[in-house]
């Protein structure tokens, strides 16, 4: 049985070293600009950083994937094409792309460069995935976090490229690459500028013991005294409807699918992805080490150890997300 590949995030060079040292099989990262979906202040890699990161990872037999997974803006293709060219030049093992125009550019210009389809493409059915494979030679698809495990199994039975699924971290409950909630509130797009809930538009206001989080001038949540907080995203906002404040889309929570390793293996999944390029290196070292231990135990047919990752999760709660969602 081929073991799962463990794909880990890095938002800076120290985080990359932490991921490699903790047992990643591959690390994904982005350049320091709007070409990736985690374009946050102070985060990401310069070209020189990527060169050093690739050298560090390759020396330890770990792969580096470069996420270029936002959508190029009309009339301004150059930053995205340059990112693909530089990823190839710097010997990245794969690029993670979402836009069809950029996939076409990469396939033509760099035929030897391995292409992965980003979750941002939201390819969730057989026909869409086959099209990406046939048209651009995509070798792996990162599945959106809206599919159940049986959905993934059915999909894998009908396609002949690898699938990668998220197993831990921030949980985007929307059709990724198509969500405009943050854009409506801030005027900046996760899909074009790479910023969901951009920090420039986020404010936190202590109100006595409560904490209000505001996005683009809208109050999107008020956490009571002692209540665990979450990211300031609208999909996890708490709004008053019929005089009752409630989470309309999703509660502040993090994905953790460690208990589903047997089911994901049976469903034909090739690689498991940890979310969190925006997180600190302490998160990365802790979560990657936990998953490494779990995957090693699973590969040997041993019981997966129960590892405490409560301290790392949003809202203090964990979920298996859509993978086990009964109402679907």
């Amino acid at each position: 049985m081929e073991p799962f590949e463990l794909i880990c995030p890095a938002g800076n060079p120290a985080a990359l070293r932490a991921a490699v040292d903790a047992g990643a099989d591959a690390v994904y990262l982005g350049f320091r600009d709007e070409t990736n979906a985690r374009n946050f202040p102070g985060l990401n890699f310069s070209r020189e950083d990527v060169a050093e990161a690739v050298a560090y990872a390759h020396a330890r037999k770990v792969q580096v994937f470069v996420a270029i997974n936002t959508y190029p803006q009309a009339g301004n293709l150059a930053p995205w094409q340059r990112a693909v060219d530089d990823a190839a030049r710097l010997k990245a093992d794969a690029v993670i792309l979402a836009d069809v125009g950029l996939l076409d550019y990469a396939a033509r210009r760099h035929p030897d460069l391995r292409l992965h389809l980003s979750v941002q493409a939201s390819a969730a059915n057989v026909e869409a995935i086959r099209l990406y494979r046939d048209a651009f030679g995509v070798r792996r698809v990162v599945l959106p976090r809206v599919l159940t495990v049986p959905d993934i199994a059915r999909l894998n039975a009908e396609i002949d490229i690898e699938t990668e699924v998220f197993v831990f971290g921030g949980l985007c409950p929307m059709a990724e690459g198509r969500c405009s909630l943050s854009s409506y509130a801030t005027g900046l797009s996760p899909n074009k500028q790479g910023v969901c809930s951009p920090a420039s538009h986020v404010r936190y206001e202590p109100r006595g013991g409560d904490l209000a989080s505001r996005l683009g001038g809208f109050t999107i949540n008020i956490f009571g005294e002692g209540e665990q907080a979450g990211y300031p995203t609208l999909c996890k906002g708490r709004f008053v409807s019929h005089d009752t404040p409630a989470y309309l889309f999703e509660e502040p929570t993090s994905l953790n699918a460690m208990e589903l390793l047997p089911e994901l293996k049976a469903a034909g999944v090739r690689a498991l992805k940890i979310e969190g390029r925006q997180r600190g290196k302490a998160y990365i070292a802790t979560v990657v080490a936990a998953y490494r231990r779990a995957l090693d135990a699973f590969a040997k047919g041993q019981a997966v150890p129960k590892l405490d990752l409560d301290a790392m999760v949003e809202g203090g709660t964990q979920t298996t997300g859509a993978y086990k969602r009964a109402w679907r």
């Binding site: 120290a14 102070g42 920090a199 420039s200 936190y204 665990q228 907080a229 997180r279 070292a285 080490a289």
Partner: protein, 211 residues
């Protein structure tokens, strides 16, 4: 950083050494406040030069930020710090109510952990151990810049300690072990000896947390 699944309530040697460092930091802040902006400012400038030599990439990034002031408030320490980022990068001791573009508040130990990347800032925020106000982008830029470094405040400072630079990391490494031995001896000792050990422990660990 502890191995997940192996956490216990018993403090580790690392926790004990960290407690000593927290007390040293508090004592440093108290001293800086007493010295005022003149001599205290010179000390902070010297600290910044040491750290900039060790972490040039991070300091270059801080200088490139737009001019802004960030109040760093260790709530269990005698004073706060005002960090000015941008071309006039500087650090000064400050009152807690100083005007700033952004504020980060949390226990002194947690802020040290954050500075050195021993703990994840988002996790601290989720648990409400860290409070932030004002310009969130500024706080995020600072956090991400520092997290990209492998910073160890006391080891970095030790590099500038002249002949003591080799002794300080050893002393630090052993501080936790010494305090653990004192803990054990304290539990096992008869009462008169226990009181003596408690006094000795206080001297090693430094002044206790202030109200």
């Amino acid at each position: 950083m502890r191995d997940p699944g192996m956490q216990t309530d018993e403090p580790t040697d690392d926790d004990r050494a960290r407690a000593v460092e927290v007390n040293l930091t508090r004592a440093g802040l108290r001293l800086a406040r007493q010295l005022g902006d003149g001599l205290g400012g010179l000390l902070f400038d010297r600290l910044f030069r040491i750290l900039a030599d060790r972490h040039p990439r991070a300091f270059a990034a801080l200088v490139e930020l737009p001019d802004a002031r960030l109040l760093i408030d260790p709530v269990d320490a005698p004073a706060a710090l005002l960090l000015r980022v941008g071309p006039q990068l500087a650090l000064r001791v400050s009152e807690r109510d100083a005007q700033a573009d952004a504020t980060v508040r949390g226990p002194c130990g947690r802020l040290l952990d954050l500075l050195e990347g021993r703990i994840d800032g988002d996790a601290l925020f989720f648990r409400r151990e860290l409070t932030i106000e004002g310009d969130t982008a500024l706080i995020l830029a600072l956090r991400n810049t520092l997290d990209g470094e492998e910073m160890d405040l006391f080891a970095d400072v030790a590099t500038a300690a002249g002949p003591l630079r080799h002794a300080l990391p050893v002393a630090r490494r052993n501080a936790g072990r010494v305090l653990r031995l004192l803990d054990t001896a304290h539990r096992l000792a008869p009462p008169p000896l226990r009181w003596g050990l408690a006094a000795l422990e206080r001297r090693v660990a430094g002044p206790r947390r202030e109200a």
